[in-house]
Each structure stands twice: as structure tokens, then as C-alpha cells.
């Protein structure tokens, strides 16, 4: 980890830059949320965009502020491992609702009116 004065100075610059970028991106998010650019109605595109900006912002926090950009391999491994299960969690909705059978039944029911 950085200890020399030069390194610390360059750190400070990076932190300032990232801080400003985060503030700007927050404004961008709000602007996009307000005037959704993909048409009059908020759609999945706007949601994706908003989440993308959030992902960019959070990676900046994680990489620079949390020093993940030069962290030891062990930490990456732990986080990678965690991320796998995090994905599993996010798929809960899929496991509960993605159901071809139910979709088929729904289709039949709808066609019957």
C-alpha cells in the first residue's frame, strides 16, 4: 500500500477526481430519471441505464476508495466467491416465476377469454 509522499499525493488527486465524477454521475442519474431519454414512458431501457450508471459509480467507489484496484488476490477470491452466490440470490425471482408450464396454462386461459 502507498506510503511514499508522492504516492499519497497522487492518491489525493485520484480521490478528488473520483469524488467529482461521482457527484456528476449522480446528477446524470437524476436527469435521466426525470427526462427519461428513451421516450415518454419509463421503460426497461431507462431502468437499465439507471442501473448501469449505478454500477459504474459503485465500481469507482469499490476500486478507488476501497482500494480494490491494488488489493491482494485473496480478497478478490473471497469477493468472486461471494458474487457467485449473490447472483444466485438475484435469480430467486426467476426460480419462482420463470415457469414454462404456468406460461402455457396462462396462454390457454387467456385464449379462452
Amino acid at each position: 500500500m502507498a506510503t511514499t509522499p508522492e504516492e499519497l499525493a497522487s492518491h489525493k488527486k485520484a480521490y478528488t477526481a473520483i469524488g467529482i465524477a461521482l457527484l456528476v454521475l449522480t446528477c446524470v442519474t437524476v436527469a435521466f430519471g426525470f427526462w427519461h431519454p428513451f421516450g415518454p414512458v419509463m421503460t426497461w431501457r431507462d431502468i437499465t441505464l439507471g442501473l448501469l450508471i449505478a454500477i459504474v459509480k459503485s465500481s469507482m467507489v469499490a476500486l478507488i476508495f476501497m482500494h480494490l484496484n491494488h488489493e491482494r488476490g485473496l480478497i478478490y477470491k473471497i469477493l468472486l466467491f461471494t458474487f457467485c452466490f449473490f447472483l444466485g440470490l438475484m435469480l430467486l425471482i426467476f426460480f419462482a416465476h420463470a415457469d414454462p408450464i404456468r406460461e402455457a396454462f396462462d396462454a390457454i386461459r387467456n385464449s379462452l377469454g
Binding site: A2, T3, P5, L8, H11, K12, Y15, T16, I18, G19, L22, L23, T26, T29, V30, G33, F34, W35, P40, V41, M42, T43, D46, I47, G50, L51, I53, A54, K57, S58, V61, A62, F65, M66, H67, R72, L74, I75, I78, L79, F81, T82, F83, F85, F86, L89, M90, L92, I93, A96, H97
Partner: protein, 480 residues
């Protein structure tokens, strides 16, 4: 005994203990908030249009400015934390102290804004869902959502749970209850003593029942001769007013009030209509063809004496439906769209002719009305009780669900309060840890500055994580 690698890194792993520890902890935090985010998606996607309460759009119901400012505040605090850490690395205590004070100020500001938001939701905004699923939004006039009842006698049940009506009695005076039945008949208990009296009687009853069972088992019990234990007591008092929380009531009529804890109160029902300033009407759960006949119109008619509002609202709706029909070619109109509009009532009321579908940023084009529509930003959490609000009276029989915009208002509010609440707890926790470094860190600093730098780094990691969670919370709760 010294634990190795508390300050210096171990050579093969390259890490000191606390660093590994905090990352592991953050891993579990990822799973914690992951579970909550997953629940958010689950509940939102799982909301069935027309059946479940509509999932409101964040922009419509949140104070955007508060969320926005809070985001900036948290980001700033994150920046401050890294600068504080750098200051320690440079061995400058005073600089560290200043940055740290900045962090704590930010966290305090964050919590204050949060409290303001919560308060506005809990006390300024209400929904009344009528039996036909139309939902009126607005502000319930103080106290009118309570069941007001003049009581003169109370029957408590010792096999139930301690009576809870006591804190719903209106007057401050210490009402005196006269015991009407049982061994203690004629004695009196004060309202303030009622709870301890209940517990004593409860214990007595349990003992008597136990005795009875024992005797019954041994065959010594003689019906008629042996006295059954008293499981209830009737108390009477001078008439007093109860403002009962409807959630505690299992049933009621003109003369009785049945509490869920099995206390029965006798007397006279005074008033049970809810008075509300209406701001908006949500017809998403009402089929299109029924929207002209919802109960809400009658209530509004009774309050205003005219049908002007109804006509305006329906005109706006028709406009939207036409728009949707023309933009979604044959038949693929989302059900949610057809279910009906979420209409900002005040706008319609203010501007006759239904011209203004509030907050339309796209010129003349009316926006499709579906749960994601936000044709009413301004309505949201602003302008309490401004001019021109109509106050309607809703008899409780006509409602199916009355709520403030607190956690119970629907799954959106539930997850909003749970997630931001947990996040707030994390902010407080993190701030406490950082405050500890600020207040008591000097000693560690003098002894081994690197140790303090490490600890601040670890505390900072947690702080950044909390910031990171908010970066996701903000758009999904306030914007989408």
C-alpha cells in the same frame, strides 16, 4: 500474549487480520443487502396488475430533492474518509481530525434528512382503499381514522392477553373502574393500575384453573358444588372516550367494541367516519369499464356537490387511453395500462378542463398511464393542505384498507422502509465507529500511527460499502 499480524501484514497473504476480517464481513453484507435487493425485484416483478396494490413509481411518491441531497452527502462523506486516511498515512493528526469531523457532520445531516422524509411519509400522506379497489390518496385529518367510542363498561378476559385499550383512552384523568363481578366485586382499580391488576388476576385464574384440572383428574371435582374459576371480570366506570386504533379492533357495532386481545368494551359508538383531504385518485385496480361508477365519485360528489372533477378526470383518462391505443398496435396494450390512470387530483381540480396532466415534461403528448407513469411529480410529498383541497368523508364500512405511507402501505413502502432503515442503521453504526477513532484515536496514534491508519482504513471500507449500497438504493427507490 500477542496476536500476530494485528498491524503488520503477513507476508504470504499480504494482509493484516482486520483487513481480511472486514472484507469477509462485507461479503456477508453483500449477501444481506443482496437478499433485500432480491426481495425488491421479487416483489416488484411479482406485483400482479389489477390484483395486487399497484407498485408506485418512486418519483411520484418520494421527495426527490431529499434523496438527491442525501446521495451527494454520502458521496462527500466517502471522499472525506479517504482523505482522513491519507492524512493519517502522512501522520497529520489535525488534518485527520478535520476530515473526520466532516464525515460525522455528513452522516448526521444524512440522518436528519432521512428523519424528515420518514416523518413526512408517516404523518402527511395517507391512502384509503375503498371496497371497489379505487384508492384515494391524500391526508387524513388528525384523529379521524380512529374509532371514537364512549365507553362505560369493560369486560376483560384473563385468558387472553393484557388489555391494550388503556393507551387509547382520550382524557388524561385517571379513570376509576369499579369491579362488578367476582370476589373482588365493589373494589376499584385506577386506569394506571389496570395492567398490574390484570396480571395479578391472570395469575390467580391460571392457578385456579390448574387446581380445577387437578381435581377433575383425581375425580374430586363436583360440578355445581365446586366453583368454576372466574376467567372474566366486568368493570364499570363513568363514561369515558376511547379513540381506538382500528388495527386493534376485531369487530364493533353501535354498542360494543371487541378488541383483538379479547377485551370487550360496551358503550356507544360516537363517530367512525374518516375525513380526508384528497389529492389523488388511483384507479389502476379498477377495470376500465367500471371506472365511471367507482364509489369515490359519490364521496366526492357529496363533498363538492358537483360532478366537475369526475368529468375532468375521466376526460384525462380518455385522452390517455386514446394515446395508448394509438401507440400500442392492436391488442397488445399492457393490462396495467388499461387498468386505469393514476391521476393527480389537485391539478385537475385547479385547472378546469383537465388540460394539465401534472408535470408533463413532454409538451402536449399525454403519457401512457401505467404503474410506471409519473404524471404527477408535484403532487407527491409537497404542499401540505394547499388551497382548494376537497375534504371528503368516508364511512369505515366502505373502506377495505386505510393506511399512511408507512411500511404497511404496500410492498413498495415495506421494502423502502426496511432497506433504507437497515441502511440508516449501518450509517449510524459506521459513524459510531469512526467517531470512536476521532475521540479516542489520539492515544493509538501516538503509540503507533500505522495501527490507527489501519483501523481507519478498515472503518472506511465499511463506510464506502454503506455508500455503495446507497448508490443503488437511490435510483431504485427514488427514480424508477
Amino acid at each position: 500474549m500477542e496476536i500476530p499480524y494485528e498491524v503488520t501484514a503477513r507476508r504470504d497473504t499480504g494482509l493484516y487480520n482486520a483487513k481480511i476480517g472486514v472484507w469477509l464481513f462485507l461479503a456477508s453484507e453483500v449477501m444481506l443487502f443482496g437478499g433485500l435487493f432480491s426481495a425488491y425485484v421479487f416483489l416488484r416483478v411479482g406485483t400482479q396488475p389489477g390484483i395486487d396494490n399497484p407498485w408506485p413509481m418512486g418519483l411520484n411518491v418520494q421527495i426527490l430533492m431529499a434523496g438527491f441531497v442525501n446521495t451527494l452527502v454520502l458521496i462527500l462523506s466517502s471522499v472525506f474518509v479517504v482523505f482522513a486516511w491519507v492524512a493519517l498515512k502522512e501522520r497529520k493528526w489535525n488534518v485527520f481530525r478535520n476530515w473526520m469531523i466532516g464525515v460525522l457532520a455528513c452522516s448526521a445531516l444524512f440522518m436528519v434528512i432521512k428523519a424528515y422524509e420518514y416523518n413526512s411519509k408517516l404523518t402527511q400522506h395517507h391512502d384509503i382503499k375503498l371496497l371497489d379497489n379505487s384508492i384515494l390518496g391524500g391526508k387524513i385529518l388528525e384523529g379521524t381514522d380512529k374509532i371514537r367510542f364512549d365507553a362505560d363498561s369493560v369486560v376483560v378476559d384473563f385468558s387472553g392477553s393484557a388489555p391494550g385499550f388503556m393507551n387509547q383512552v382520550e382524557s388524561d384523568e385517571n379513570i376509576e373502574f369499579k369491579i362488578e363481578t367476582g370476589e373482588n366485586a365493589g373494589k376499584t382499580v385506577k386506569l394506571s393500575e389496570l395492567r398490574s391488576w390484570y396480571h395479578k388476576e391472570h395469575v390467580r385464574m391460571m392457578r385456579e384453573v390448574a387446581d380445577m384440572r387437578m381435581k377433575q383428574r383425581k375425580g374430586e371435582w363436583v360440578d355445581g358444588t365446586d366453583k368454576n374459576p372466574e376467567t372474566k371480570a366486568t368493570l364499570s366506570a363513568k363514561p369515558f372516550r376511547i379513540n381506538a386504533n382500528p388495527r386493534k379492533i376485531a369487530g364493533r357495532d353501535e354498542e360494543t367494541l371487541n378488541f383483538r386481545d379479547r377485551t370487550v368494551i360496551k358503550g356507544k359508538l360516537v363517530d367512525d367516519t374518516i375525513k380526508m383531504e384528497v389529492h389523488s385518485l388511483n384507479l389502476q385496480m379498477v377495470p376500465l369499464q367500471d371506472q365511471e361508477n367507482v364509489m369515490a365519485w359519490k364521496l366526492i360528489h357529496a363533498a363538492t356537490g358537483g360532478d366537475e372533477i369526475k368529468e375532468n378526470v375521466l376526460a384525462v383518462r380518455d385522452e390517455k387511453v386514446t394515446y395508448v391505443r394509438s401507440h400500442f398496435p392492436d391488442g397488445v396494450i399492457p393490462v396495467s395500462v388499461l387498468q386505469g390512470p393514476f391521476i393527480n387530483f389537485r391539478k385537475i381540480h385547479d385547472v378546469p378542463g383537465g388540460e394539465a396532466h401534472g408535470g408533463d415534461h413532454h409538451g402536449e403528448e399525454p403519457k401512457a398511464a401505467h404503474p410506471g407513469d409519473h404524471g404527477s411529480e408535484e403532487s407527491a410529498e409537497h404542499g401540505h393542505g394547499s388551497h382548494g383541497d376537497i375534504v371528503i368523508e368516508v364511512p369505515r364500512e366502505q373502506t377495505s384498507f386505510v393506511t399512511n405511507h408507512g411500511p404497511r402501505a404496500g410492498t413498495y413502502y415495506a421494502i423502502y422502509f426496511t432497506m433504507t432503515g437497515l441502511h440508516g442503521l449501518h450509517v449510524v453504526g459506521g459513524a459510531l465507529v469512526l467517531a470512536y477513532f476521532l475521540l479516542f484515536g489520539k492515544r493509538i496514534f501516538l503509540k503507533n500511527p500505522e495501527h490507527l491508519a489501519n483501523r481507519v482504513e478498515v472503518g472506511g471500507l465499511f463506510w464506502h460499502f454503506v455508500d455503495l449500497v446507497w448508490i443503488f438504493l437511490f435510483p431504485i427507490m427514488y427514480l424508477m
